[in-house]
């Protein structure tokens, strides 16, 4: 038994960032970006707090959705006992390990509660029958309790999986995988419920009169596409940087590309169904949300999403060669990552600027802060850990993986 456990498919030095490698500087680069962004926010924010809070919410939701998407990616692999993706699982684990950082980055949203959410104003609720009806759910104390619950659940699941996976690197105990597998099913249910309600609380309630029963799954679809897009970019970047270039093969890139294509189509399916049913039924309380996005320059963004989040990547990612070559896959991934940001911007910003698209320097500054913190956290973790779960019982299966 001991000799079996001591067997390593991959030596640790093949799966760590070597000293002096440029990726060791990621935490510093992230910190510099965050600092620049913070200076920008501090200078421009006080003059226009509403713009700052909305810009912050967009960037916060963007990086949070990547972490939540990563959590689902890893949980579903445990639940299905997936073998192919072990070599890229640590990228997912590193991404969702940032969730406690995301909880800290949520504080500005709480500070801007009154600037963001109409239902938090007592006088607005007092003069509005519909908001009164919704007040038992949409009120500040319950909002705070729910937010604490979401971050509590996500942090618990994320740290549990991250710690045990890291622990297995040292012990090589296959029972860890079995325990995490048993826990994955219930964890997926908790994740599905919390991210549904989180998207309702943080994005849908920006337009408190409006509702869509598909909004939770719409957020999930976007989040998962976002994470797979990030995964494709990071996996290719790692290979280019000489990290894991012998570990992650075109076979793995091919599977990442297939997931990216499939969930990009799933996002389209959900996004269109949500629009289609509301458009067809034509009920005023439902159509207001789309009406705001079909007028003026917001209609241009709507068309950009149709063309850029579906039509163009649909034909681009369809072929086999595109998915198997690093450079072409990374272009598709980077493009969809940008489109995921546009999608969230399009969901959130029309509440602030119903008159049309108004890009702001604060959008960039907030993105730099949240993104800088994200890069710092993930870069710091990557320096301290193996880039692959070294002793996972299915690592060899993943290393030898081939598409048939």
């Amino acid at each position: 038994m001991t000799s079996e456990r001591d067997h390593v498919a991959l030596r640790p030095e093949q799966a760590t960032i070597p000293p002096g490698h440029s990726w060791n500087r990621l935490p510093v680069i992230g910190a510099v970006c965050a600092l620049l962004g913070a200076v920008g926010c501090a200078i421009l924010g006080p003059a226009n707090p509403k713009q700052f809070f909305f810009s912050w919410l967009v960037s916060f939701m963007f990086f949070l959705s990547l972490a939540v998407g990563a959590l689902f990616f890893v949980l579903i692999q445990y639940a299905t006992q997936g073998g192919w993706g072990i070599v890229v699982r640590r990228i997912g684990e590193t991404t969702f390990a940032t969730i406690p950082v995301m909880a800290a980055l949520f504080i500005p949203v709480l500070l801007g509660l009154h600037d963001l959410y109409e239902w938090s104003h007592a006088e607005a609720v007092a003069s509005d029958a519909l908001l009164q009806w919704k007040a038992p759910y949409l009120n500040v104390p319950f909002f705070l309790i729910r937010a604490a619950l979401y971050f509590g659940c996500w942090s618990f699941i994320a740290l549990l999986y991250y710690r045990h996976s890291r622990g297995q690197d040292a012990t090589g105990d296959p029972a860890v995988s079995a325990r995490l597998r048993r826990f994955a099913g219930p964890a997926i249910i908790v994740l599905a419920l919390t991210q549904t309600f989180a998207s309702v609380d943080w994005i849908m309630s920006l337009t408190p009169h409006w509702y869509s029963t598909m909004f939770g799954v719409y957020f999930f679809a976007g989040a998962f596409v976002g994470f797979i897009a990030l995964l494709s970019v990071v996996a290719v970047a790692m290979r280019q940087a000489g990290l894991l270039d012998t570990v992650i093969s075109p076979e793995h890139l091919h599977d990442i590309g297939k997931l990216l294509f499939a969930f990009m189509v799933f996002w389209t399916y959900i996004a269109f169904c949500q629009f289609f049913l509301i458009w067809y039924a034509n009920l005023p309380e439902e159509t207001i949300w789309y009406r705001a996005r079909m007028e003026g320059s917001w209609m241009t963004v709507s068309l950009l999403l149709m063309a850029g989040h579906f039509v163009a990547p649909f034909f681009y990612l369809m072929g086999r060669t595109v998915k198997r070559k690093g450079a072409t896959l990374a272009i598709g991934g980077a493009w969809l990552l940008a489109m995921h940001f546009v999608d969230l911007y399009w969901q959130i910003m029309p509440t602030l600027h119903p008159e049309g698209v108004r890009p702001s320097v604060l959008d960039v500054a907030a993105f730099l802060v949240v993104g800088g913190c994200f890069v710092t956290a993930t870069g710091w973790l990557m320096r301290r850990q193996a880039l692959v779960p070294l002793r996972d019982p299915r690592l060899e299966e993943s290393l030898a993986f081939e598409n048939v």
Binding site: F272, F276, Y280, N282, V404
Partner: protein, 195 residues
Amino acid sequence: MPFDPLRSLSAMPLVNRLPTGPYYGILAEFATPADLYHACERVRDAGFTKWDAHTPFPVHGLEGAMGIRRSPLPWIVLGMGLTGAALGFGMQWWVHADAYPLVISGKPYLAWPAYIPITFELGVLFAALGAVFGMLGLNRLPMHYHPLFRSKVFERVTDDAFFISIESWDPRFDASATGKLLESLGARSVELLET
């Protein structure tokens, strides 16, 4: 079977025409999947193009050992899918906006979102039909008779024997030299089959 577009076109599925000649080809039997795999590599490297391997179960990596090129089926499926989607959209456009313009639930005549479900369904239907019938056509199926069935040993292809058949219209085919090549690759038996 290595794909040859000309042969596929000339041999339409319902016609079932096989090129004529005194022999259909040579059939060689191998004892194990490994023997077959290595023999396939050698037949591939010898430059044969019109030949096939027959096994009772899928042998992993055999398509690489045989040097099979990728099937053109995805292009057929894409073409059919786009045709179906265009047909579905165009049909509704013509009916609702041109031939029988009726106001339905206050929507414009050309209410494109309402056309999407049918467009999608027809696209999927045509793509699926393209996949099934394209596959049958490229494999020249249904084929009710094949010269390989003349061979008595070939009956064990669904049981425990592994075969290579090289067809006589392959440019490199030579009844005696090809037979010797297969024997040298470890064939348990080599058989010349009539057309």
